[in-house]
Amino acid sequence: MSDTTDGLVLAADGRPLKQSLRRALLRQKIRALMLIAPLLLFVVVTFIVPILSMLFRSVENDIVPVTLPGVVTELAEWDSSTGEPPSEEVFRNLYIDLFKASEAKQHTRLGTRLNYEQTGLSSLFRTTGRSLDDIGEEWQDPLEDIDANFKDGAFWFEMMSGSDGDTFLEQRRDLLAEMIGESMAGDVGFVPSEQVAKMLPWTSRAYADFAIWTAIADNDVVAEEDPWEAVYGALGMDLTSPDTISAIGSYSGPGAEALQAAVANLDHLPQDGFREAFAAENGDWVSPDVWATIKLYSPSVTPGYFLNAIDMELTPDGIEQKPENEQIYTQLFIRTLIMALIITASCIVLGYPVAWLLANLPMRTSSILMILVLLPFWTSLLVRTSAWKVLLQQQGVINEILVWLGFVNDADRLILMNNATGTVIAMTHILLPFMVLPLYSVMKTVPPSYLRAAKSLGATNWTAFWRVYFPQSVPGIGAGSILVFILAIGYYITPEIVGGTSGVFISNRIAYHISSSLNWGLAAALGTILLIVVLGLYWCYDRIVGIDNVKLGG
């Protein structure tokens, strides 16, 4: 069929054979990839992405910069080592940010987050959140006394409205949307006046936040609603600035009279700033420690969770070990590793003889005995765990038998459950098939004649086993051990039920942080550390046995 012209081998269609073959190979590769692609995509979306999102969660710290954007920017200039609370500017930003956050009910979340780092911050944010209105009213009442127009929502709307303020409004909208994690899209029905925004910067911010929230979240008409107390407070802030006062003097737009009246009666307004107002609410607000913590957790990425997960903490003076009595995770990691090792070791001790027997018996007998190994393997984990609960509890089968046989006094029954013993016994039973099966498949490949040859050459039983058979079964031990170890360190259900408090693993702590303490960042950090350990072991497993050689059910 092929023709040779100019030394080139040609295929039937006249193309060079090499090219033709390459095309065929490419087609084959593409077909194979097309077959794999749907599953690969499925696994990546439903599994790999969630795992990555967990990794991301373990360093993510958006909540502080997103909830207190103004404070975070302003706080960058504050030096925590001076021992002084931050400037009035920071407290003004705090008031604006916090008021908005408390309207959106986000301040408690922020408090909870910061409470992980410094106890007491949760209640500080919660109680202050309740009294933000009172702080605003200190300015609202005198302002309304000066000019009754300030009582009127429509008056405020008219004063703040104007033209060219769209960019400003969008900025505020973005900040708000980031804070609550929703788009906040929609028509606000309010366009801020650029002139007023320049003249009254604080007031405009507070009023824009109020307008967006009223229109989008509450679905009300901005002009018909009375502004937040924060708007009055913000006007108070503006009225302390000489620039604003001179600008108001030459201002003639809507509300000019009321503003000028306010400027004329400045002595009616509170003379103290917002730092004093916050300090009056709670003395902790002027504590440099509190601010040092907030500043420390201002960046949107933090190593804080990871440090917590290894019993360290981030302090203004750098990374430090936690106090002795708060160190739990290192210990828990060590305990998890030790218990997983004990479980692996007991699985080897129990599994090795059985695997040897199964591999050396005639096929017919061994497949019947194999069922005894496979039955627990196929039985629901919950069934086996409940079996061990039935057996191990104080009134359980083992204790009853021992008491009946007279080996144990009724009064001092053995405590086999709710401690490390229970976890080790139950998990050894549950994971034993995972040791026996790989061991069996390796031992099956060792020819029995080697052992006989060694013996016929004069080796004792022990020497023949130890020098000839055992080395050949080591890959099986390696495979089984790594499998059991990996499964053991990530176990959750069994330790939770039979482990009590002293027999639990790191995974129980992760579950606790997910479902009870809601410290998800810490849970993610603990999970990430565990994942790294497991992937390391997995890599070893791949080196020893290869992923392709994983076998199931013998």
Partner: protein, 406 residues
Amino acid sequence: MSSVIVNVKRPDLLTFTMPFVAVFGAMFGFITGNIFGAPSIGLIGGAIVGAVLAGILARMTKINRRVKIWGIAIIFGLAGAVFGGLGGFFGGLLVGVSMGWFATWVGTGKYRAGVPTYYTPGQVLWHNTFLFICAFVFFFLIAPLIPVVWLSFNAENFFTFTPEMLSFKAEGYSLKHYRDFLGTDEWMVPLKNSLIIAPIATIISVSLGTLAAIGLSQSHVPGRQTMMAILISPMIVPLIISATGMFFFYAPLGNWLEVTLGLNQSFVGYVKVILAHAVLGIPFVIITVTATLVGFDKSLTRAAANMGANPVTTFFRVQMPLILPGVISGGLFAFITSFDEVVVVLFVGSARQQTLPWQMYTGLREQISPTILAAATILVAVSILLLLTVELLRRRSERLRGMSPT
């Protein structure tokens, strides 16, 4: 085990059989004596009974071994019944069977049956000790399941044996926990959920997994190792980590489905759990199907193509029937993974998607009723069925590939 056995001669009665059986008897005697608070009397009594038994049995060479064992068992059983009623009878029967078996096993020299004749006594002792160790491990594997099955017939609402149960009185037993299981929504709704979630998850993992396994088994696949590692990863990553990751990812995904697409909340809940379970089952499908494909003769597909079959026909008429056992056993693994899964469903699902394992888990934590044990027994029965199916399929597949050693 080689079959180098010959007619083993009987060991010496006085210096070998009698002492050994006496020691064995002393052990039982000690335990029995301990029940009545007199272990030393039991010890001596047991030793005497053992020695006498060995002596008598040695005389009765004519009688079949099995008959001897059962005879002794019944005698011991009756003796037990005198002391402890029906429960004592069964206890005695058990001791009798063990004693009879051991006495005849040692007495007739059967203990050397499995070892070559040239073995020294020490080697024989080790060989038999080894077998006892193995027997113990098998016992350890299976025995924990027995009390669960037994206690599921308890007439009381306890997790422990009642005196009535131990003396085998009819009033100690009942099927009420099974009635509770089958008759209440508390258990039937989770069962229904499990039966909705597991099959759908299985179908997803089997259909995608089989296709991918076929793709992976082609000869030229770029990045095969990496893709394999990704596809196997759900099995390697500890469940708690998968669950944590899914918790973070599926909650916003669910919100998005509900809010943006306006889907029903309960439907979205099922979708989340099914997707999560499907991905957990995929490694099992991949592993079993690729293992089956190793033995698949590729010239068959070429032959089919040669005769004019298009790839789809070739797949369904030639390839599929041959790899079907692997696909089915992979599917069973995927099914059991989903059916038995509790950590992920706890994290991802809501109360509406409560599955059977979830309900059992809650029950075990709060220890509400032995209905859990009835559920466990039913699950054991199901797993026996599944195990048998997988075994049969595996044998069939090996036979088809001409690999069966039997």
